[in-house]
């Protein structure tokens, strides 16, 4: 055996940081130091999905593909003359590296499940809607609507782009639900069918509000038009008879606004009153009613035209504001619980038969067959098969665990290798993971801090009422006949609708600005809560670290290419994620024979490759005496009993994370909750600051408990997480934001969804939310000026409909423009 020169690795390593790059040794070429995530030198783009191709091995004509899956999709489309798909948009596909299991949609043959999915069926046709997360461009639209060219039984497909849904109409005699789902999957548009779809309908947009707005707009515009003669009646253009007709027409037109459009505000005010809370809608409703009664008496007693135009106008503007503020992101769901993650059905073994069974129908003591890459839906005992279970979904722990027959496996784990059979010991709803959702803390709605707008409106109302009382007393002493006009005019003018308008328009704009930066908040309340946050809790895996990228490096004796390949070939035998990374780092030679391969769980692997006995694993397993302290996971290598070196695998933190945390720690208390082990604790403590509290090996319940304990101390907690394991904590915290790699991904229930690469902008988002309050107050103060002008006329009892008609739209429009301008300016600044 050739002897290799030994590089000593003692001096440059301090206790925590092992940075091989800093080695003061000129390294031979064979000493490779690279990252897996690094791009290859020549960039080859996959013709289907646009991702980088590792090599030119998979190709068709002049087209290269990143994986067999992508190539297959291309072939199917090519055969069916559907290649326009690729001309409409560049690389519209999605990487197909993980093949979909062949019988995944077998459960769609089950009549009972079918019935729950089908919307309409007669003798010939069936209608149903699939949610297809991958829909993202016009190519998708085109391909899906041409589905009939791939499956003759499909009559028509209509895509709803905003909802990412496809309505499929097909003839059930010619094709089946399962076949359609499989066809869609084969072209890269796997429909997502979850338990949640079965149980509840998706929220629809509130059409009622839009009808109300339409009616209010119609009435408002016509009343304005018909009021013109009235405005100028003092200047000698009046025709008594015509005026009379106009007034009655106005009265008629205001009825639908008063009784129909304004209902939204009555309901909200009444709801507030019932729960003993004076919200801003109450003074507004009061003003609407007073204006209506005053105008009604004016018309009935023939003393004036009333303020119908002002009343309908304000209702119209407030409805516009409310619709803008309630903007919903149809493609996103903020309410996913575990059922959205779980498959809809699972294979149950009954008397040797495989029966697809819907999840709620699974009983204890059923034997479940869990396929490769499938989620375990209920807690059970492993009966048969070799279980390697990835619990990252539940715990955040990145390394899969191996389980032997007889051991308990928990719901939420994902089986990685081959099929297993488990005997359920708990039903789905009672399993460990799912029971998290049934906890009392999460069932009771959060006690909401009332918005400052309501508090402000209360002061405002008191001021207005006292002005009204003073005016009344004054006129009672001087001219009692003017009490009624003066007091009603004060109440009309001083309606806090300007405040409501300012709030709803600003909230609407801020939501829009945030969504432009890919932070999608559930509703306007979340803006205010995000602004008030003082403690930020991070999840580690998937949040601070990226999902897929990890860097790997080797240090120790230089290795020849042959030796590297030998190590790679050995590592390729194991499914452990570390082995997989080492295998792709080293490369492999398929022809190398491997004998006596042994894998010892939680220790390492060994085997003979050609004439060398290679061991990979932890220090004890490989018999390494000199341990290296690293901030990542270390895998030691011995060749023929000789210590050769080690591989260091580090999770890649997202770009800019250190800077982000460095910035945040100045203003906020930071915490870290990780389901993983504490291998990287030292590094994390350094970037999060000495005062940050780090918690490792946290179960979902621990995370929830930690957030609760912070809240008990009076902290307002922002939790940022990504997985189902954070779901409880996300829901409990004052603001829970879930990260997503792309918006097609599934995120647990939360107050906001943030695209992962935008996380570094977090301080900016919080600043925007804080400015939200400032803008509202500023515009409110400006609108108060209008109110003071109005009050000047009102207390004297000489508020003419014309003055009101000018003041009202002027103040409303200037508020809208101001909020828009200010929020845009603040976003740029």
């Amino acid at each position: 055996m050739p002897t290799l020169p030994l590089i000593t690795i003692s001096a440059p390593f301090d206790t925590h940081h092992c940075l091989p790059v800093a080695l003061p040794v000129v390294l031979p070429k064979s000493f490779i130091m690279a990252t897996i995530s690094a791009a290859p030198d020549t960039k080859l783009q996959c013709a289907h999905c646009g991702e980088d191709c590792p090599d030119k091995k998979i190709s068709l004509g002049d087209k290269n593909f990143c994986c067999e899956g992508c190539k297959l999709v291309y072939e199917i489309l090519n055969e069916n003359d559907l290649c326009d798909y690729y001309t409409l948009n560049a690389n519209p596909g999605q990487a197909q590296r993980i093949p979909v299991r062949k019988d995944k949609f077998a459960f769609l043959d089950d009549k009972k499940i079918q019935q729950q999915l089908i919307q309409f069926q007669d003798d010939t046709q069936t209608h149903l809607t699939f949610y297809i997360p991958h829909i993202h461009c016009s190519s998708c639209l085109w391909l899906l609507e041409n589905l009939h060219r791939l499956d003759g039984g499909v009559q028509r497909v209509t895509v709803n782009f905003a909802k990412k849904e496809a309505l499929i109409i097909f003839r059930q005699q010619e094709t089946s639900l399962r076949h359609i789902a499989e066809t869609l999957t084969s072209i890269g548009y796997e429909p997502y069918i979850s338990l949640q779809d079965l149980r509840q309908q998706k929220p629809r947009i509130q059409k009622g509000l839009i009808y109300r707005l339409g009616v209010a707009g119609f009435c408002f515009a016509n009343i304005m038009l018909l009021s013109f003669p009235e405005y100028f009646s003092h200047y000698g253009y009046a025709d008594e008879k015509m005026n009379h007709i106009f007034r009655w027409l106005n009265l008629t037109l205001s009825l639908p606004v008063f009784f129909y459009s304004a209902q939204v505000f009555y309901r909200s005010a009444w709801g507030g009153l019932k729960s003993g809370f004076l919200n801003i809608d109450l003074p507004i409703v009061l003003a609407i009613i007073v204006t209506f009664i005053r105008s009604l008496t004016d018309v009935l007693t023939d003393t004036g035209g009333g303020y119908f135009d002002s009343m309908t106008g304000i209702v119209f503007f407030m409805l516009v504001g409310r619709i803008l503020q309630d903007k919903t992101y149809q493609g996103l769901s903020f309410d996913r619980d575990y059922t959205a993650y779980f498959p809809i059905a699972i294979t149950v073994l009954k008397d040797g038969q495989q029966v697809p069974t819907a999840l709620p129908d699974i009983k204890t003591n059923d034997t479940l067959l869990i396929h490769n890459q499938e989620l375990i839906p209920a807690d059970g005992i492993l009966v048969k098969g070799n279980a390697i279970i990835d619990y990252s979904f539940v715990t955040g722990e990145a390394v899969p665990v191996q389980k032997n027959a007889g051991e308990i496996v928990y719901a939420g784990g994902k089986q990685l290798e081959g099929n297993i059979e488990i005997l359920t010991i708990k039903e789905v709803a009672q399993s460990y993971l799912t029971s998290l959702w049934n906890r009392e803390e999460l069932k009771t709605p959060k006690e909401k801090q009332p918005s400052f707008i309501h508090l402000l409106s209360r002061y405002f109302t008191w001021v207005v009422l006292s002005i009204a009382v003073i005016t009344a007393t004054y006129w009672w002493a001087h001219d009692p006949s003017r009490i009624w006009p003066a007091v009603t005019a004060v109440l009309i003018v001083a309606c806090p609708c300007a405040l409501l308008l300012a709030a709803s328009f600003t909230n609407g704009h801020i939501l829009r600005i945030l969504s432009r930066h890919h932070l999608y908040l559930r509703n306007a309340d979340a803006i205010e809560r995000l602004a008030d946050v003082d403690h930020i809790v991070f999840d580690k895996t998937g949040t601070l670290t990226g999902k897929a990228t990890a860097s790997i490096s080797y240090q120790g004796m230089p290795l020849t290419k042959e030796k590297l390949w030998a190590i790679g070939s050995l590592a390729a035998q194991s499914t452990h994620p570390l082995s997989k990374m080492i295998a792709s780092f080293c490369g492999k030679d398929e022809s190398l024979p491997i004998r006596n391969f042994r894998s010892i769980a939680a220790n390492g692997i060994s085997g003979w490759v050609q004439y060398n006995f290679i061991q990979l694993g932890n220090a004890a397993f490989t018999g390494t005496s000199s341990k290296v302290h690293t901030d990542g996971s270390t895998v030691y290598v011995t060749i023929d009993g000789q210590q050769t070196g080690c591989f260091i695998v580090r999770h890649h933190y997202r770009e800019g994370i250190a800077a982000l945390l460095g910035h945040l720690r100045k203003k906020y208390a930071l915490s870290l909750l990780s389901g993983d082990n504490d291998a990287e604790a030292a590094y994390l403590q350094e970037i999060m600051g000495p005062s940050a509290s780090l918690h490792f090996a946290q179960q979902p319940v621990d995370k929830l408990g930690y957030v609760l304990s912070l809240q008990k101390q009076g902290r307002r907690v922002l939790m940022i997480g990504d997985g189902l394991n954070d779901a409880g904590a996300l829901k409990q915290s004052d603001v829970g934001i879930s990260l997503t790699e792309n918006s097609n991904n599934f995120t647990p229930a939360s107050d906001g969804i943030l695209e992962a690469d935008q996380m570094i902008q977090l301080p900016r988002f919080i600043r925007i939310c804080r400015n939200n309050k400032r803008i509202i107050i500023l515009t409110f103060i400006i609108s108060l000026l209008y109110n003071i002008i109005g009050l000047f006329f009102a207390v004297q009892g000489i508020l003419s409909p014309l003055t009101a008609a000018i003041l009202m739209p002027a103040s409303s429009i200037s508020i809208v423009l101001l909020t828009y301008g200010l929020s845009e300016w603040m976003d740029r600044a």
Partner: protein
């Protein structure tokens, strides 16, 4: 002045017509998805046959016929 009353009635009728049209369009779901209809209209429906149909004047770019003039 009765002419104004007639005009008034007519203008209100027109306005009511537009209100009805608006309500119909909302109910019809025209505001639910603003992406698909705008793009759908631009898609071409190409002949899907790969065979030659029109002899000398074949314009089928996918034509695979050996005797077609295109080749």
């Amino acid at each position: 002045m009765s002419v104004i009353i007639i005009l008034l009635g007519a203008s209100l009728l027109v306005a009511i017509f537009f209100l009805a049209a608006f309500i119909w369009s909302v109910r019809n779901g025209q505001f639910e998805d603003d992406f698909s209809p705008a793009h759908r209209i631009l898609f071409e429906i190409k002949p899907t046959e790969t065979g030659c149909k029109s002899g000398n004047a074949c314009s089928n770019t996918n034509c695979k016929s050996r005797i077609c003039n295109q080749h």
